[in-house]
Structure formats: C-alpha cells, structure tokens
C-alpha cells in the first residue's frame, strides 16, 4: 500500500461534498461519526432522491473513514458492503433531499472492522441501513492525516464543470453493446487516496449494469422506472487500469423484484475480477 493523498483532495468526495464529524472527543475505541450529505441538484434524480449508486459511495466513504479511525495507526480497505433501502422511501416524499448518515463501529478485531451506517432524510425518516467489513492493513507511509476528533472541513472543488455533472458523466460511464453491460474509464478523479479505483466507483458501474439488464436496454443514464433496493458487494481486488466492465446476469424474480448478479472486471489488468455483487432491482412502473 502506497502513501495516502490529502483527504481533502479525493475526487469522489469533492463531487459528493458530504461533511463528516466525529462524535465525542476522538478517544473512543469504537468511533461514532455523522455525515451530512447536502444533496446537490446534479447528484439527485428528478424526484430529489439519491440513487443507490451514489448512496453506496457516501456509505463507503463515511464507513471506510470511521473504520479507519478505529484501526489507527493502521488503516483499512473495504472488503464488502451491504445496503438495504427502506421500502417506503423508494417513491414519494420520504427519502428525498439531503441525508444524514449515522455511523458506528460495531467491532474492531485484530484484522477486521465491522461498521454500521444508518441513513435518514432531513425529517428523520429511515432511507437505508448498511453494514460493511474492512480489512486492517499497515500503510507503508502511515495512515491519513486526521486530527481527532474529526471535524467537518470545507472541500475545495476543482474549477472543472465535470464536478457539477450528472453521476454517469462524472463517473465516466458508457453503456455496453447489450443490456446489462456498463463500462467505466478510470480518470484520476475516480481514484481513492491510494491511487486505486474508489470503491464507490465500482458500485456506480455495477448499479448501472444491473438496472440496464432489468430494463432490457443498454443505458447508463438515470432510470426512474427501476432502482436497486438491496446490494451485497464483495471487493475482491483493486481496479487499477480500466476500462472497468460490469456485466449483469439475471438469477430470477419475485414480483417486481429482480435478483441480479454482477461481476466487475478490470479489462486492462488481464480482465481480473474486481468485485462480485448480488443486487435486487425493483421495477417501479
């Protein structure tokens, strides 16, 4: 593991603009943080709701950081992440606008950390629940430079219109030549501080592939008629080269819910399997 860049200069974080604060004095063995996601217009859908792709990004960001705080002076990599959306917050007023992410480390073992993230809207209504596991690693050049307790800080957003673009543009997605395939070309802004593809980026491309498969059309654009309601993703190896290709296959359905398996591969790195996910995509039409 190479050195960590500045936490203030993570491209995905500069796009999402979530503010994170640590609760308490920063000495708790199992840290507690709260994230405030503003929900800028370009990141929300036409109803003002955050897609599961970006929801996974912000959960991975705060969950990873909080797990890392529990692991100091070591740091972590996410190994798997599980999300479920609240069934009454998929349509209508619930779950729209800005979000609050309440994050607790549940367990800090010798080699792994398990952390829970609960997401609510500005009215306090549940939007989603999630837990994630991280492996503890020893960074060659030390952990990220955090002062404890972590306090919110303003991120400087690069003067580049891509940071105000829609998710599929920011994440450089293109549709494959058939439904169920989505591609991501790696740009510097999509890498995490270790120089590898941000875990949230993998979630974005696999979410697009899964929705595309269920709708039966090759697209990476917003799909108001389908949403990922449940995601279990296992990160198996880092994405380094690209293009990153997500390929979805159907496992079956239960009414409007479609169970979809997605493989994410780094085509430029011998087609290495990066992530394996099982998702549920709900047809809303």
């Amino acid at each position: 593991m190479s050195g960590f860049g500045s936490p203030a200069e993570i491209g995905v974080a500069q796009y999402l603009l979530m503010m994170i604060e640590e609760i308490g004095d920063g000495t708790a063995a199992l840290p507690h943080t709260v994230g405030h996601f503003p929900g800028t217009a370009n990141t929300l859908d036409a109803d003002g709701r955050l897609g599961t792709d970006l929801l996974t990004c912000i959960i991975d960001s705060i969950g990873g950081m909080t797990s890392g705080l529990a692991s100091l002076p070591d740091w972590i990599v996410t190994t798997n992440l599980m999300i479920r959306r609240a069934p009454d917050a998929l349509t209508g007023a619930h779950g729209t606008g800005g979000l609050t992410l309440d994050t607790h480390v549940l367990r800090r073992g010798r080699s792994s950390v398990v952390t829970r993230v609960e997401v609510a809207d500005s009215e306090g209504a549940a939007v989603a629940t999630s837990w994630m596991s991280c492996a503890i690693l020893t960074p060659v050049n030390g952990p990220p430079p955090f002062n404890r307790p972590v306090r919110p800080f303003e991120r400087e957003v690069p003067n580049d219109p891509i940071f105000a673009a829609s998710p599929h543009e920011f994440f450089n997605l293109t549709a494959g030549d058939m439904p169920g395939v989505a591609l991501l070309e790696i740009e510097q802004r999509l890498r995490n501080p270790w120089g590898i593809l941000h875990g949230g980026s993998s979630a974005v491309v696999l979410d697009a592939a899964a929705r595309s498969l269920v709708l039966g059309r090759a697209t990476v654009e917003p799909t108001p008629e389908a949403i990922v309601t449940d995601l279990a993703v296992h990160y198996l190896s880092p994405g380094r080269v690209g293009p990153i290709v997500a390929t979805a296959s159907s496992k079956g359905s239960r009414g409007p819910d479609h169970l979809v398996r997605v493989e994410v591969r780094d085509q430029g790195a011998d087609d290495r399997l990066m992530a394996l996910a099982m998702t549920t995509v709900r047809r809303l039409d």
Binding site: R84, P87, L90, L106, V114, T129, A135, H234, L259, M278
Partner: protein, 279 residues
C-alpha cells in the same frame, strides 16, 4: 507413547444427539477440484408457508457446505465464517434443495465462496455469498483428518437415524416473546464445536425475529427472503436474543429490518439486515 497410553478425549462427542445440523439431514459431495455440492430435504417442519425451505435452514446448508469447501481452499490455514448473505427466489413447493459452492477469491486473509441454489434439480432458488476469515490453523485442528474421498454422503452420521418430527424452531426451543424478538437458550444442540452458538442458529434467530415482526405488521403469513449477516463475536452466554427493528415502514408487502443478536450478558454478537415478504 502407545495408542493405549493416549489419554481419552474427555470432550463430549460433537455433534450431540439431535443437533440442529443433524436434524436437517444434509448431504454433500466434493469433486476432485474441491468444489462442493450439497442437498437438503425440505419437509413441512422446515418449510415456509410457500413450501420453500426457511431461510434459517438454507443458512445451515450453505454454512455447513461452505465450511467443508473452506478446508481445502484455506489449507494449510483454517477459515471461520465472517459473514453470510442469502437471497431466496420463489421456487415454489420444494422437496430437495441443492447448493453448488465455488471459491471466488482466496486471498491471504479472506476467502469468498458463492453458492447457487436449485430447487428439485431444476428451478433457480436463490444464491448465497459467504466470506471466511483465514487464520493460522488452530493447534487442536492441526492433525484433524477429514474424509475428502469422492461420493455423496450424509454430512453427519446421526442424520441416518434422527428424524425431525416437529417444527424445526420448536425442536430447537427457539421462542418468540413478542413480535420482532426471538430467543434461544445455549444448549449443546445449537452450539458449534467450540461451545458457542452455531453460526446458522444466529440466522435462525434473525429469520424468526424478522418474520414475526412482519407477521404482526402485515397480519398474515410472511417469509424472510433475504439476509445479510455479519458475525461479530462468539455467543458463549445464553440466552441469545435477536431483536428486529423495521427500517422505514413496510410497503408493497415488503418489510426491511435491521436485526441485532445479543448474548446473555447483553453483548452484541451478530448483526443483520433482512427483507421479509408478505404471502
């Protein structure tokens, strides 16, 4: 020291009679590559009102097969289940559930195994993903001998003569005290080899806590269809209690729940999220 001089192992035989795993009559077969296939008969005592196996019993099947698959995959090390994710599909009334397990990643410290589920050898019934933590092989398991010869066999010899003749949860004495709360005493029949609550019994508690909460909200039958379960600690002190909390309100016959399992001292030993569907 001759064989006659070796002190007798004073530990009780595992599994004890009428253990939660033996009663499900699991069978397995391992091919030369190490991949594993297994089967579980589905009876009225182990099924949901829709005729499919309850998620709790599927968890036992994939946990047992996953453990078997992990032995060769992690060799010379050892592996413990760290988490388990199960999705069930509506395959209809089922007589036998089959699971095929494949290793998707063997890293230095983690092992990821995927299971495909098939009902009556023909209908997709869902899938499972399991993560194992790879650790140095414990001292007491260094010389363990495991029968890896080819061929289909019972996973436990007791299954040949132990028959489940009542609801599986009643047999295990798993109780629901109120909707969303399920408990079980820590008895040998629900323990693993180290005397802690068996991993699949965590899933039983979570399944029933979730389903009981959904039944009360929907006022009808309900089946737990999905579960993401993380093991946090060994459950060594009984009773173990699962508490399910709804995430948002139910909608379209679906309930999402967060479920925590605590031991008798109040320590959190596992956590899960579930999806429950009204029938």
């Amino acid at each position: 020291m001759s064989a006659d001089e070796v002190p007798a192992d004073s530990r009780p035989a595992y599994p004890p009679p009428r253990h939660a795993m033996s009663l499900l009559a699991l069978e397995s077969e391992q091919d030369i590559s190490g991949d594993v296939r297994g089967w579980m008969p589905v009876t009225p005592y182990t099924s949901s009102p829709d005729g499919m196996p309850r998620l709790a019993t599927v968890a036992m099947l994939v946990d047992a097969l996953g453990g078997m698959r992990s032995i060769t995959a992690s060799d010379p090390d050892w592996a413990f289940t760290a988490d388990m994710s199960i999705h069930l599909l509506p395959a209809g009334p089922t007589e036998v559930l089959q699971a095929d397990l494949h290793v998707r990643r063997r890293g230095r410290r983690t092992l990821v195994i995927e299971a495909e589920l098939l009902a009556d050898n023909e209908r997709p019934a869902g899938s499972a993903l399991l993560t194992f933590a790879v650790v140095p092989r414990p001292e007491h398991l260094v010389n363990i001998t495991i029968n890896m010869t080819p061929g289909r066999r019972k996973m436990n010899a007791n299954s040949a003569h132990e028959i489940l003749e009542m609801n599986y949860f009643d047999e295990l004495e798993l109780r629901v005290s109120e909707p969303g709360t399920a408990s079980i005493e820590l008895r040998p029949v629900v323990c693993n080899t180290v005397g802690a609550l068996h991993g699949a019994i965590h899933a039983s508690l979570i399944d029933e806590a979730s389903a009981s909460l959904a039944r009360s909200l929907f006022n009808t039958h309900a089946v737990t269809t999905d579960m993401h379960l993380a093991y946090l600690d060994l459950g060594r002190v009984g009773p173990l209690t699962a508490t399910a909390t709804a995430i948002g309100g139910p909608a379209n016959g679906r309930l999402t729940a967060s479920v925590d399992v605590h031991d008798g001292n109040g320590a959190l030993v596992s956590t899960a999220t579930t999806e429950v569907v009204a029938l």
